[in-house]
Assembly symmetry: C2
Homo-oligomer: 212 residues x 2
Amino acid sequence: MGVQERRAREKEELRQEIMEAARELFVKEGFDNVSMRKIAEKIEYSPTTIYLYFQDKGDLLDCIVEETLLNLTAKLDSLREGRDPVVDLKTGLRAYIEYWTVHPNDFRVAFMTDLKALDPNRAWRCTAVGAAMYGSLRTRLRECADSEVLEIRDLETAAQAIWAAIYGLVALFIMKPHFPWVDQSTLIDTVVNSAVDSMIPKRVAQLEAVGS
Amino acid sequence: MGVQERRAREKEELRQEIMEAARELFVKEGFDNVSMRKIAEKIEYSPTTIYLYFQDKGDLLDCIVEETLLNLTAKLDSLREGRDPVVDLKTGLRAYIEYWTVHPNDFRVAFMTDLKALDPNRAWRCTAVGAAMYGSLRTRLRECADSEVLEIRDLETAAQAIWAAIYGLVALFIMKPHFPWVDQSTLIDTVVNSAVDSMIPKRVAQLEAVGS
DNA sequence: GACAGAAACTTAATACCGTTTAGTTTCTGA
DNA sequence: TCAGAAACTAAACGGTATTAAGTTTCTGTC
């Protein structure tokens, strides 16, 4: 029964080809400015073929963004060193911000396209990976709390506050690229330190600030 | 020459009527789900008439969002008490966040519609008011720095870091309404205090934290 | 009061869009 | 060889923003 396997493989290959073409176009032109017709033209199939592989344009986007988020997740996981949880936490946050500043158009596609905001039913893949990433943040924060150095009143509140600050910086960088930002690296450090250090006793916070 | 005045007044009235109808529809259905035809139908004119008053759909959005931002600006200005600059700053930040959580759809229209992100040329009205609001934040921060209580290394960096944290919280509230947020008021206070207090010597920061 | 011209508004068309229906072609397994 | 499944497509539907050209309405002047 090698035929069925080949067929399945071919089907998967075309699926990947569609996603690759769509990602390239979405990133270059923006989700709204890319039509199913344009994607079809790029892969030299008829527009209707895409609907055999994806429910609709939103589903296609969901799959693409899921891939992006999984890629980011892998990158963040690879950076963990496991020595000092606070260092790991800050390193992860900085890496998150820098990943998106390097791939701004992916961020636009992932977070600045209406669809995902509307209902988690349609963008369930993204929602799932996003939830996993938030879970990872919370875990790292708990590790900080479990070590002797941290004073966290409410872990959930702390995690959400940090998420907000980090997310806001990325979103503004990307939304207002022409704004007269101060030195990017300095600003990132300021936001990360401000968000994390406010949960940490002064003594340790100062040590961290010096170390970075 | 009372006729020309009346004509001008009538013209302005229709302009306002268009904006009112469009705002209502945009807020209810979202920018992308509202067509010029629907707006025209609501005001009982032909779609083309709108183009006599606004360059295109994007221009119409720009004008509407400008109005929203000016309204918010007025609200923020009215809250200034001028006694303690740090209190004024935090009050303003909280008010900013709460304004958008009360009008989430206006925020969607204002900040989560592609157009504005693309080029400041097209959304110049919003860009201008937005710049004024950022200027106001910087002014308040300078007032804090000028009073005896503050230690701000770089004012611009501090302003941008605060802006990021505050903006991020609002954006996440609105983008992920189904996320299991902790108590909203607590979270807002945490983010505001974390952002502002990191610029303030410990002694004062603690006083502020108690006061809120 | 008649009337030229400006202003306001509309009709009809252009060139797109996402998606669906109803096919056609290609391939597979018996 | 051939029935049926799988893969793919042509054509259409009902929508979109925007524009060009035409019509109606109003105004100021004679």
